[in-house]
Symmetry: C2
Subunit: 233 residues, 2 copies
């Protein structure tokens, strides 16, 4: 078992964390492929991050990098995993709302290999309560607090309509949840000590439409500059 | 029809765009509730952004804000919408991959009110080709290029497994897509002029687990400082 670098939590920005998650995914993939080492340039190419940024991010793990051969994948992966607390613990999750999105989240087994595991689902629809979604039991939301406490669930995933999101977040916090992943198109208010990560899919569409307009306007401006330049020749 | 401020695309950071999307969602909600005006403080409370940040972000729209009464919701919303190109055009979308996640994305009607509309779906499963998902026809991925061109589809949403994501992105670009929303757990490479927004759900879990550990470590440190202080009294 390799020793694990102590990494000061306060030192890491949110953007760095997002990149670290990308590296971890990539290293896991390479490990599964049986690859032993990876250069910062390869890691950059596979993740879409610049090689300079990769080198800077991984400089704290520098002793695993060798000039010419690159990083030892297994050792580097162990280090990066430690940042996210894997190996230290498994994260029990519950999902609230097993509609179309909630069911697809439970059906995705992607997160299992990162140490996350759904152990309970909740819904208010009597037709769903008592059934199972992908082998996960569906309880009434009325039982949320009791089940979260009994099962020591760490993460609550909110996949209910916007109108119920805040009430669900409050119940999760009252039950002692340690963090919330919110897929409802509604921001939730929780005590400051409980982290919330929000994923709002319609906002991603809005952002994309903005970037498209921006890119196309830039292209038009460049085009008209080229045309102006060729006229003045 | 209110006049619309010309907003320099280059001036706006990605973080600002994300907040603008949040304001737009919030303003739409308030408008539906029949509310006429909103103060920067209320907007801050509803969106989880600080009041100072709200005021700064909306300062370009300052002439709609009145001290004491706040912003005229309908006029402000029209301005913010213009940033995202609503009213200017509808955005035709296609989805590639109608598995569990892809189907749930098509089933979500959230994005319609922002002007986005699915007009085609693609899959490689012969059982799915020729059927419909939420009234959207499912074509073979072999027909992707032809359909995207014929229908003038602007946005391609990738919901295929990681192993196919890059090939799909390439085909979408070859077909003349204007932007990509990538839900596959794999970064895609496209020409620089085509914007890509990636949503990787397992990365959001990883990030959350990091924030939880970080928050809990901070709480422990604060606790031990309090204990040390009380011992030294």
């Amino acid at each position: 078992m390799p020793t694990v670098t102590k990494y000061g939590f306060e030192d890491i920005s949110k953007a760095t964390i997002a990149r670290m998650a990308t590296y971890l995914r990539c290293l896991t993939y390479l490990e599964q492929q049986g690859t032993m080492t990876v250069s910062s340039r390869e890691l950059a190419s596979l993740t879409g991050v610049s090689p300079e940024q990769v080198r800077q991010d991984l400089s704290v793990f520098g002793r695993f990098g060798k000039r010419g051969t690159g990083y030892d994948i297994i050792r580097l992966k162990t280090e990066v995993e430690a940042i996210f607390g894997r190996g230290i613990e498994q994260w029990k999750c519950c999902i609230v709302g097993v509609g179309s999105l909630g069911s697809s989240l439970v059906a995705s087994h992607m997160i299992q290999k990162w140490g996350f595991k759904y152990v309970a689902a909740f819904d208010s629809d009597p037709q769903k309560i008592g059934t199972r979604v992908e082998r996960i039991p569906v309880y009434s939301v009325d039982d949320l607090k009791a089940v979260v406490r009994r099962e020591h669930i760490a993460i609550g995933v909110i996949a209910v309509p916007a109108s119920s999101a805040r009430a669900v977040a409050k119940t999760l916090c009252d039950a002692g949840i340690r963090g919330i992943l919110n897929f409802a198109p509604q921001s939730v208010k929780v005590p400051e000590k409980i982290p919330v990560v929000s994923v709002d899919i319609s906002q991603e569409f809005l952002k994309l439409s903005f970037y498209i307009q921006s890119a196309e306007q830039r292209a038009r401006e460049e085009q008209s500059q080229i045309e102006a330049a060729s006229r003045s020749e």
